[in-house]
Symmetry: C2
Subunit: 449 residues, 2 copies
């Protein structure tokens, strides 16, 4: 737990690299976890990172490579030959190996796979690469401990000793019939507690949760989280056992999903972090800002259309930022609740009942807020008709903003589009325009102009 | 995997409850996972839920109770006597038991603990309740498999058979010295692969990650995710083994954190979901809307101060929604990147270098956007001085909005306040006001009025 990247550590490290003092470098990384080494590589220059990776044992570097973020890894692997990548990959679990090879160009993928000495791993990787991007197959690893239902506990223990060497973590032992179809599971604990002459079929649990290899990865995540599973077996359409998915990959997936939703809500079109280049960051930020610009131009055109009102009721114009802000805030609040509900699978009832509820809610909020605004305008401007016009419009704008915020994500979800899009500048921008339009129309009506 | 709550299922269930056909009710829940039963309870009326819970075996209902959301559980437990709660709790792991007892009033806590027949569990629960809310101690369970370093593999296997019965999942076996201090760990796999007369000290790994019982829970989550751990032992200041934390609790914690950040960004002050009452939802939404209202009034006062400009340059006023929207969007984008970076612990470098980078980035985005706006205003309004004034102001507003969005979360974080607050309506509202003020000041200056 204790490792922390200090300036002193980095200075020492860079000094050793300058002097090519390889034994010292190996020495300071001796007891450091590969996840920490991956972080160190992010702190040093690119050439230094390459130097370190090439120096350390492939047993360690293969783990480091899986921990690096994609951009850094890609750049580092460009400096590796196909043979060197193959050597790293042979130390990895099949799922990590497939992920990393999948990031290479197609031509390089073939060359690396050809260089693999472990032909079984090569076959496994080819199989894993064949599954679609967001499927259970893309998450699974081929390594697992498998026993036949006809075996005895003693025979099973003997075989497991062999298989377990290759499997980093044994969560469950999967029981298959002679056609390799999944028929049950047992835990190492069950095996230890059982008598050695018992049949596997008698001590295994027949009820075993499994997912189809083509199942959507987010569904797999939801199942594993809901049922508190640490690993889940993956089967094909005939129930033949193909691999297993472990919870650590699901944790990563959930984190990515949460980050993506958050960024979408903040108006970032792609996964960026604060250390990315200005060019990358601009690419992520500019599209939504353009949308905002277009929305602003729309608002301009609407306001210009109402400019004859200015001579009599100039104050109406000074409240447009307030109206726009409220429409935007209410829209984001209501869409965020729906988006989260959809993600957690707990949005029940019809769209109509949702909209009715949101209407009541927005009306309640709107009336409370409008009351304060009414008092302010009345006292400050001394015109009760203006105060009334502005407050009534505010209530209507808030209700409509709430309805749009509720409807849009539900509609997108029905159409198979990720509803999280709806929480970002999309809702704010459209609500700005609608809000300002409705505001002026209602105000004009009430004021009789 | 196959269970889904259908209308038919619910109709049958409610029919059986009406007729008090207990055997049929037990029957339809026979093969249903407790996580699914918890969802069913959310779909039926409160009285029906109570009826079902009281009917099923406590082995099953104890699991169902842990799966329910806090509100529903609280309401159900109000209908339980202290003795009934104690019966449920005795079937639970110590961490779940402590969580559920912790939700009761202090007086009820004592009564339930007094009713527990398992005095060891009672002691464990008292200990777990004594740890602070956001600490490792509040996440850990007391159940674990512990062996002494002086034992042999065979002796160990014998003892483990006993201990393992109580532990739902054996991730690691923790090795302690005679003072119960943590000195190593081994996996069940290591034990199976070892020879039966080997000493535990010889086959265990001396390097074992552990966290202090007072460590912050989010730090524990970060460690477990970073190092891909499925369980981590918890020790006191003297390295005495107290309990262990498993990854399923961390998954729940991460989900809660992500939800909280997302809701904060959307302007919701507390954890709500779409099925909450209108009153609950109003409580979560209204405070931020009030902030927006106050911001809007601020914008009104600023614009009113510039109203003499209207006769000559009315269009300036029609662009305020655009300026406010851009200031808000840029602010949220830049703060979201910082907030996420802080959460992932990868914001490096000084505040000044961050601000400089954001300034360059915002300037780049601003100039591109301003160019388009310049052309639009020039062509549409035919006034080049107006076009220039509006575009230059836009660039300045975007830069300042970006700086505020970067600075505020970094500042809050330094002060120990959750920086996620900064992404919500807080940034939008303050940027609205600043943006509009700066816009009019610069435009006035350029237009010489």
């Amino acid at each position: 737990m204790a490792f922390e990247i200090t300036n002193e550590f980095l200075e020492n490290l860079v000094g050793f690299i300058d002097k090519k003092n390889d034994s010292k470098i190996k020495n300071i990384f001796e007891d450091v976890h590969f996840a920490d080494i991956a972080e160190v590589l992010d702190e040093v220059s690119f050439d230094e990172a390459i130097y370190i990776i090439k120096l350390l044992d492939s047993e360690k570097t293969s783990e480091i490579l899986t921990e690096l973020d994609e951009d850094t890894r890609e750049k580092i692997l460009e400096n590796f030959s196909a043979k060197e990548i193959a050597n790293e990959v042979e130390e990895m679990d099949s799922d990590d190996a497939a992920d990393i090879i999948g990031e290479l160009s197609e031509e390089r993928q073939k060359r690396v796979i050809n260089e693999l000495e472990d032909t079984e791993l090569a076959e496994d990787i080819k199989e894993l690469l064949s599954y679609g991007d967001d499927t259970a197959g893309s998450l699974m690893a081929k390594e697992l401990v498998k026993v036949y239902e006809t075996w005895t506990v003693a025979g099973c223990m003997r075989r497991i000793r062999g298989q377990a060497q290759e499997v980093t973590r044994v969560h469950s032992i999967y029981v298959v019939d002679k056609g390799d179809r999944l028929v049950g599971r047992l835990s190492l604990k069950d095996l230890i507690v059982a008598k050695s002459d018992q049949k596997i079929a008698d001590i295994s649990k027949a009820k075993v949760d499994a997912v189809n290899v083509n199942e959507d990865d987010e569904t797999v995540a939801r199942i594993m989280v809901k049922y508190d599973l640490e690993a889940i077996p993956v089967v094909d359409d005939n129930n033949v056992l193909l691999g297993r998915i472990t919870i650590d990959d699901i944790v990563d997936l959930l984190k990515e999903e949460a980050d993506k939703d958050y960024q979408m809500a903040a108006g970032l079109t792609q996964d960026v972090d604060s250390d990315d280049s200005i060019f990358e960051l601009t690419k992520a930020r500019l599209p939504w800002l353009f949308l905002g610009l277009i929305g602003g131009v729309g608002a301009f055109i609407i306001m210009e259309g109402f400019q004859d009102v200015f001579s009599k009721y100039a104050s109406l114009f000074f409240f447009t930022p307030l109206i726009a802000a409220m429409a935007g805030n209410v829209g984001v609040q209501s869409s965020a609740i729906i988006v989260q509900g959809l993600a957690n699978d707990d949005v029940k009832g019809s769209i109509n009942s949702r909209l009715l509820k949101e209407m009541l809610l927005a009306a309640l909020n709107g009336v409370i807020l409008a009351l304060f605004l009414f008092l302010f305008v009345w006292v400050y401007e001394g015109k009760i008709d203006l105060a009334l016009a502005i407050s009534v419009s505010l209530v209507v704008v808030i209700i409509i903003a709430g309805l749009i915020g509720t409807f849009v994500p539900l509609f997108l979800n029905k159409r198979g589009v990720d509803p999280a899009i709806a929480t970002g500048p999309f809702i704010t921008t459209s609500n700005d325009i609608f809000g300002i339009l409705i505001y002026f129309m209602i105000a004009k009506m009430i004021l009789g102009i």
